[in-house]
């Protein structure tokens, strides 16, 4: 865990090196509560994200759930948009947009996702808050865990786990509610009529929430999450990172309030260890940026509080960049560097992609058509001088309103569509497959007695390119042209 910024610090000869097993038993972290500008932002985002997560499945649209991923019927509903399996390209685009935006804000200000939006962080915060309310502040929690098991301890722990369990179960219920209409799912759950898989997934996600937010916490960030490991690829020397201002803070040491630290040969750091106590991953930011740091800025808030009490200027731990430290930028210059080539390029690509996607979604054609021509019965003589070809036509009306369509074909003189009642009507979000035939007058001369087939090389089958046009009756703009072929046998 080499420090990232600055030369190695003078190592305080305090703690001796300890020996642990290779598979070390984890020491539980008891994060101290912190208030401040960043903490306020974090909690605002917790409220915002959870309002969206828990609230969205309850909204309705067009008589159905507004956001529903109906895996069984293979339709994804997002308000007015219906996505069919054929629209999976939009999922690809969504993932690309997510990745690009991640690259953008990570290169600007580091692990903003981790500290403010990641469900692991969010649920850990919620569960820690519950723990704090039931078990007490940091010292109380440490004492409680060290105490032997008494009735009081059991009751407190039971209360805490019940509260956790309730939140976890509701989370699992909400998650499954995105895939199975949430109201009916809730009724089924209460009346014990859940299907085995629905029940399983609700309990599974509930268990995962309870386990990850209640127990695993920083272990996910430290050992499981790949983002922690490749963050360094996304940072550059102008990325804003949480930094301890070593020249200002060192040498650290406690002193009385009111004393001028320089006179004592001390830096601003009073060695209160608040920055270590509030850290949810248990690191000491004074050692420099480490991969465990999730960018929650609790240490900034904590230190600023102490600085405030001591009457010093805030910002001993603050967001700054490697370049700003090395080259002594002032604040304005540092912030101007946010608009460098890398971020501008990311932004441009992101905006362009968003614009293209929005345009594509706005002009989506609700009609999808697939035409497969018969291969066994390639062509037939329906009547003397009339040739028929058969096709299987699949028409999909992806709109949520019923529509009627006319089917026409062109490309061969006299081509006519038979075998289907026109106009074809389809219900809302319905797909139909039916056989259709095309007839065309045969160009072959009927009365000509020629040698039997097979003895004349020049008479080969004639394949013509044709085009089907399927058009909505009430909307000329909803139209599809599908190419196919018409075969005249010889």
């Amino acid at each position: 865990m080499k420090p990232v910024n600055g030369p190695p610090p003078p190592i305080p000869i305090v703690a001796a090196t300890e020996e642990v097993a290779l598979y070390e038993i984890r020491k539980k972290i008891y994060p101290r509560v912190v208030h401040g500008w960043f903490a306020t932002w974090r909690w605002s985002l917790i409220f915002a994200t959870q309002l969206v997560f828990y609230g969205l499945p309850w909204l309705t649209w067009n008589g159905r759930q507004a956001v529903l991923f109906d895996l069984g019927a293979r339709k994804f509903y997002i308000f007015g948009l219906v996505f069919w399996p054929q629209d999976v390209i939009y999922l690809t685009v969504l993932l690309i947009l997510a990745a690009l935006s991640l690259f953008l804000f990570t290169t600007v200000a580091g692990r903003l996702w981790c500290g403010y939006a990641c469900p692991q962080t969010v649920y850990t915060e919620i569960f820690t808050w519950i723990e704090r309310k039931i078990e007490g502040d940091r010292l109380a929690r440490i004492r409680l865990d060290a105490a032997p098991l008494t009735l009081e301890k059991f009751v407190i722990k039971a209360l805490k786990h019940s509260a956790w369990f309730a939140v976890a179960l509701w989370t699992g219920y909400t998650f499954v509610g995105y895939f199975s209409p949430i109201r009916q799912f809730g009724i089924d759950a209460i009346t014990w009529r859940l299907g085995p898989w629905e029940a399983f997934w609700m309990l599974f996600y509930g268990f995962a929430t309870w386990g990850n937010a209640g127990f695993m916490r920083e272990q996910v960030c430290k050992y499981m999450c790949p983002y922690a490991r490749f963050q360094s690829v996304m940072f550059d020397k102008d990325t804003l990172v949480i930094t301890y201002d070593r020249p200002r803070g060192e040498p650290r040491g406690s002193r009385r309030k009111g004393v001028v630290p320089r006179e004592l040969g001390l830096g601003d750091c009073v060695d209160c260890n608040v920055c270590v106590q509030v850290c949810p991953t248990g690191i000491d930011i004074r050692n420099g940026l480490q991969y465990e740091c999730i960018g929650c800025a609790a240490c900034i808030d904590g230190c600023n509080q102490v600085m405030d009490k001591m009457g010093y200027a805030p910002g001993l731990i603050r967001y700054t960049t490697q370049n700003a430290l090395a080259r002594g930028y002032d604040s304005r210059t540092m912030w101007r560097r946010v608009f460098r080539v890398r971020t501008l390029v990311y932004s441009a690509v992101l905006l362009a992609l968003i614009a293209i996607t929005a345009l594509s979604l706005a002009t989506r054609n609700p009609l999808k058509v697939d035409i497969l021509r018969d291969r066994g019965a390639l062509a037939r003589e329906a009547a003397p001088g009339v040739i028929e070809n058969v096709y299987r036509m699949q028409i999909m009306n992806t709109d949520e309103t019923p529509r009627r369509f006319t089917v026409e074909a062109s490309g061969v003189p006299g081509l006519a569509v038979q075998g289907v009642e026109q106009p074809v009507s389809l219900g809302a979000a319905q797909s139909r497959m039916f056989a259709v035939r095309l007839t065309a007058p045969s160009p072959e001369d009927d009365t000509d007695e020629q040698k039997p087939r097979g003895q004349d090389d020049e008479r080969r089958a004639n394949t013509r390119n044709i085009e089907f046009t399927i058009r909505a009756v009430d909307d000329d703009k909803v139209v599809r042209h599908e190419k196919s072929t018409f075969i005249f046998p010889r």
């Binding site: 865990m1 080499k2 610090p9 190592i11 305080p12 305090v14 703690a15 090196t17 300890e18 020996e19 642990v20 097993a21 290779l22 598979y23 070390e24 038993i25 984890r26 695993m216 272990q219 430290k222 050992y223 690191i283 000491d284 050692n287 480490q290 018969d374 291969r375 066994g376 019965a377 390639l378 062509a379 037939r380 003589e381 329906a382 009547a383 003397p384 028929e388 058969v390 096709y391 299987r392 075998g419 056989a435 259709v436 035939r437 072959e444 009927d446 009365t447 000509d448 007695e449 020629q450 040698k451 039997p452 087939r453 097979g454 046998p489």
Partner: protein, 313 residues
């Protein structure tokens, strides 16, 4: 059911698997006993001691204990799985699972679901089945899967393959005859007459046959062809040319042609015959292995295609 020629390989695979998994467990245990220096966060941790490329070394930071327990659980699960399911060579596993058996179970479950439905339709008369929209939908799907490759997705037939939507039947259009065609197949054979009639004789017969359907024909050749037809063709096609459903000989007086009514094709038919070796023809395959209920549904569907008025559609 081993494909190996010797039992040695099964033992070899099983032994290797067990030893490998056990070795993982042993390695885990031994490593668990190891102790490493964990410094306070300031200094660098222990390195493994190896040095590559002059100055490249590797930290030996401790792993979390829960990871070790997960690994042990995985090993235990691995042993349990191999005991229950096939994996150790050709040992079948305590649960006796096979992929063929899994498929058979799925089929059984599916058949159990469809059995009452099938039984209901099998007991009905085919003409009544044709009135049932659900049965007709099933029949359509069965048709598209089994029959449409030759007869066309619209059941209109192809060169040498009958149109099932018309009223013209080679072997009879009643449900029992349709069922017979599906179950046993059909193999229509027409002998060749090219050698016996000669090119002129063939030409005369062809013109006569076309005249039966009121198609353009040379009047003189029609006259010459009639006695030839009566001598050679009427035993199967009938004196009036209306065909013989017992033999599958088509009706030559209508506008419906199995192989095309153009002069050149009829000439080919008469010259080379149909069904004899070398002449292009399609045979209707038999479906004796098909579930009788499916045959019943197909019969009803096919009958319904030609009897739209009588069927509910």
């Amino acid at each position: 059911m081993s494909d190996f020629t010797s039992g040695f390989w099964s033992v070899y695979v099983a032994l290797l698997t067990i030893v490998s998994i056990a070795a993982c467990g042993v390695l885990l245990y031994v490593m668990g006993k190891m102790r490493v220096k964990k410094p306070p966060q300031a200094a660098s941790a222990d390195t493994t001691g190896h040095v590559w490329d002059e100055d490249l070394s590797e930290y030996n930071n401790p792993l979390p204990r829960w990871w070790m327990w997960l690994f042990y659980i995985t090993i235990a699960f691995g042993f349990l799985y191999l005991a229950l399911y096939p994996g150790l060579g050709s040992l079948p596993g305590l649960l006796g699972w096979t992929s063929a058996g899994a498929y058979a179970n799925e089929r059984k479950a599916f058949d159990a679901e469809t059995a009452p439905l099938y039984a209901k339709y099998l007991a009905m008369d085919a003409k009544d089945v044709a009135k049932d929209p659900a049965a007709q939908a099933m029949g359509e799907r069965l048709f598209l899967n089994n029959c449409a490759q030759c007869h066309g997705s619209d059941a209109g037939g192809a060169f040498g393959i009958p149109n099932l939507r018309d009223q013209d039947w080679l072997y009879g259009g009643e449900p029992d005859k349709i069922k017979e065609s599906i179950t046993n197949g059909r193999n229509g054979i027409m002998p060749p007459f090219g050698a016996s009639l000669g090119p002129d004789g063939v030409s005369n017969v062809v013109n006569y046959v076309r005249s039966l359907s009121s198609l353009p024909a040379d009047p003189l050749k029609v006259q010459l062809g009639k006695p030839l037809f009566m001598a050679n063709c009427s035993p199967c096609h009938g004196q009036d040319g209306k065909g013989n459903q017992a033999l599958g000989a088509p009706n030559l007086t209508d506008q419906i042609w199995l192989y095309s009514g153009s002069a050149s094709i009829v000439t080919e038919t008469v010259t080379n015959g149909r069904g004899a070796a070398g002449a292009a023809v399609s045979r209707m395959p038999s479906h004796q292995d098909m579930d009788p209920a499916k045959i019943q549904l197909l019969t009803a569907y096919v009958w319904g295609l030609s009897n739209r008025g009588a069927a509910a559609k």
